[in-house]
């Protein structure tokens, strides 16, 4: 009997949680679709929170440059697909060719021994936070000893 009560309580609790979850999803999608054409106003606080990499900041990119059609609330923005990056940066094979000087021991991250040109840009390159070097998961030594690439831009 006791377990049944407990189970019912748990069930109601999860049902409630699931409704909340479902509602929050709903709201999010409404905001996105109804306001997708609106102008984005970026406050100084938001600019501080979502600061750009220097190279992109110098080009005066606004949010919509990458987050096109994602509404006007930066809090709801999603990471853009890599096509957005490649609209300017062409292709990973192009980048690999251009950055061939990094290709010591076939470590060129844009066309590496392990992944070829198949890695998503944002496995390593981050726009609003410090970038990481995914290769360091296994090849920390090579990177520390400066055999490979420098810090990821």
């Amino acid at each position: 009997m006791k377990t049944k009560v407990k189970a019912t309580f748990l069930f109601c609790f999860f049902l409630l949680l699931s409704c909340l979850y479902a509602n929050s999803q709903q709201e999010e999608s409404t905001t996105l679709s109804s306001n997708s054409d609106a102008k984005i106003k970026v406050t100084p606080e938001q600019k501080e929170k979502y600061h750009l990499k220097p190279v992109h900041a110098q080009l005066y990119f606004d949010c919509i440059f990458c987050h096109e059609g994602q509404g006007n609330n930066p809090e709801n923005f999603e990471a853009p697909d890599e096509e957005v990056c490649l609209a300017c940066h062409k292709s990973k094979l192009y980048l690999a060719k251009r950055l061939e000087f990094m290709d010591t021991l076939k470590a060129n991250p844009h066309n590496s021994v392990h992944d070829g040109p198949n890695l998503y840009c944002d496995e390593c390159h981050r726009e609003h936070e410090p970038s990481v070097n995914m290769c360091s998961e296994c090849h920390l030594k090579e990177i520390k000893n400066n055999i490979w690439m420098k810090a990821t831009p």
Binding site: S18, K106, H114, N118, L119, Y120, D122, S136, K141
Partner: protein, 509 residues
């Protein structure tokens, strides 16, 4: 509870708790209420060797296939391993005049596996390893000219991928699949739940798209809330090919409490137990889950598999020796199975981090792919010394004893017999430790392979604890399965395991 609608059941699941309490309702819930976002014949979880080979064989039969990979990267551990594939009765064995047999392969594996292997699975791998080799060669995989002879194998039978990594097999397979119109590959998409019908058959999955794995979380499977729910119908079956759990700190410790939280592993960060546990929830038989393997060829001076591992596998262990730095003496058969070697090494390492030193000479290095040595040297994990004196001084090994050990070992090579540890020195191509420069590297075993997992039959069907029969619609292949390798897997036997059973899963769906 039986009235819980399918939709709510999975909504609850997505919120992230209570699944085990609710698990028993899975088979009774009304699957008709699940609104599928997408429909496929075959849904494959994971994107490594097992997943890709299952995708190829099932898609070539005309099935509409989707591959679901939670990481941003394709291939899991398969793109970062040493690319070693054991094949019985291979063309290279024929060319090199090596006498091999299915029985000998099984005998070698059973010996390493302490005879708790499931022989019917081993037999399938040995018998069909050539078919797996043909499959990957058809996709364009290239291999090094010479066979490798790995620890625990009676004869050389190992193909080494031409680029020295499993990626030399994965990338051609991935490219092959990309050209097939009936195959969809979804990355950053995480398998969440099975969808079962009234009879308990697996008929689909709940997944989360745009999932971002977060290695900073202690338990990604539980804590990560990213991604959007999607239901995929699997008209003919679901293949679990999501690999092992060497990076699952909680779960591996439950299986072997000796494994410390900070113990290093050669695996990619996504190797967690989430998918395995979901399969247990729907009744899959757990096999050998607590048998966890350490790779004895790793190096404490770098993270993960790194650059030293392949150097040791190909050069120092086959053509050289491993010595106790304190005594200058050998302490194991450098070509024993992994369990034997890891145990012997841990005895030293646990003695105040007295890391053993693996040693070989220039002739050994001339016998391996030049890149392997170059990489390891440039990374600074393998070091080159002009004399044995220099090498001994660098690692603090007593010189007189080391010289004596080397002299003795060279005599063993000449005689073709190692009376101390039984290393098959007759297979060392007569390579002694004699020609300068000499190479040294520190050794440590790292968490490498989880032997246990789901019980499958020879058709790659997952067996149910309840019925002792296959769970309809559920297949598995690769490291997520258990039993094949018993207590310890021989090197280069995982890739054929993954490829063969992936292939078989695809053939049987």
């Amino acid at each position: 509870m039986a009235n819980v609608s399918r939709r709510n059941f999975f909504k609850i699941g997505a919120v992230g708790a209570g699944m085990i309490a609710l698990g028993s309702t899975a088979a009774n819930a009304d699957t008709k209420k699940v609104k599928y976002d997408e429909e496929y014949d075959v849904v494959i979880i994971g994107s490594g060797f097992a997943a890709l080979s299952a995708a190829i064989t099932s898609a070539e039969k005309g099935n509409k296939v989707v591959i679901v990979e939670k990481m941003g990267r394709i291939g899991g551990n398969s793109v970062i391993n040493g690319g070693l594939l054991a094949v019985v009765h291979s063309p290279k064995q024929k060319a090199e005049g090596v006498q091999d047999s299915v029985e000998l392969y099984m005998k070698d594996s059973m010996k390493a596996g302490r005879n708790i292997n499931h022989p019917e699975l081993l037999k399938v791998i040995a018998t069909r390893s050539n078919d797996a080799l043909n499959l990957v060669q058809k996709c364009g995989a290239k291999f090094y000219d010479k066979l490798s002879h790995l620890g625990g194998h009676s004869v050389p039978r190992t193909y080494l991928s031409a680029n020295g990594s499993g990626s030399g097999i994965v990338i051609p397979m991935f490219n092959y699949l990309k050209k097939m119109p009936n195959v969809t590959i979804k990355r950053r998409t995480k398998f969440e739940e099975f969808i079962l019908d009234d009879t308990g058959s697996v008929v689909g999955i709940l997944a989360k798209e745009k999932y971002r794995f977060d290695s900073k979380l202690k338990d990604d499977d539980r804590e990560n809330k990213t991604g959007k729910e999607k239901y995929y119908k699997a008209k003919k079956g679901v293949v679990m090919a999501s690999g092992g759990f060497s990076r699952d700190i909680f779960y591996r410790k439950q299986q072997d409490p000796r494994i410390s939280d900070d113990a290093d592993s050669t695996n990619q960060p996504g190797a967690t137990a989430g998918a395995l546990l979901k399969a247990f929830e729907v009744g899959a038989v757990p096999v050998h889950v607590s048998w966890i393997q350490f790779g004895p060829w790793a190096c404490p001076d770098e993270k993960g598999f790194g650059a030293a591992s392949n150097f040791n596998i190909n050069a120092t262990f086959r053509y050289g020796i491993s010595v106790n730095a304190k005594t200058g003496k050998r302490y194991m058969n450098e070509l024993a199975d992994r369990r034997t070697r890891a145990t012997a090494m841990f005895k030293l390492v646990n003695d105040n981090k007295n890391y053993p030193i693996n040693i070989c000479d220039q002739t050994a290095v001339d016998n391996i792919i030049p890149e392997l040595a170059e990489k390891a040297l440039k990374a600074g994990v393998v070091k080159k010394y002009n004399t044995i004196e220099d090498l001994a001084a660098a690692y603090g090994i007593p010189l007189k004893e080391l010289k004596e050990t080397i002299k003795q070992y060279n005599n063993y090579v000449k005689a073709g017999k190692d009376p101390d540890f039984g290393k098959p020195v007759d297979k060392a191509d007569g390579v002694q430790i004699a020609k300068a420069p000499f190479y040294g590297t520190k050794g440590v075993p790292k968490l490498h392979h989880t032997m246990g997992g789901l019980k499958i039959n020879t058709k790659a069907q997952v067996i149910s604890t309840k019925t002792k029969e296959p769970i309809p619609g559920l297949y598995a292949a690769g490291e997520i399965t258990g039993g094949t390798h018993g207590a310890s897997r021989l090197g280069s036997c995982s890739i054929p395991d993954c490829l063969v059973f992936g292939m078989i899963a695809g053939e049987n769906i």
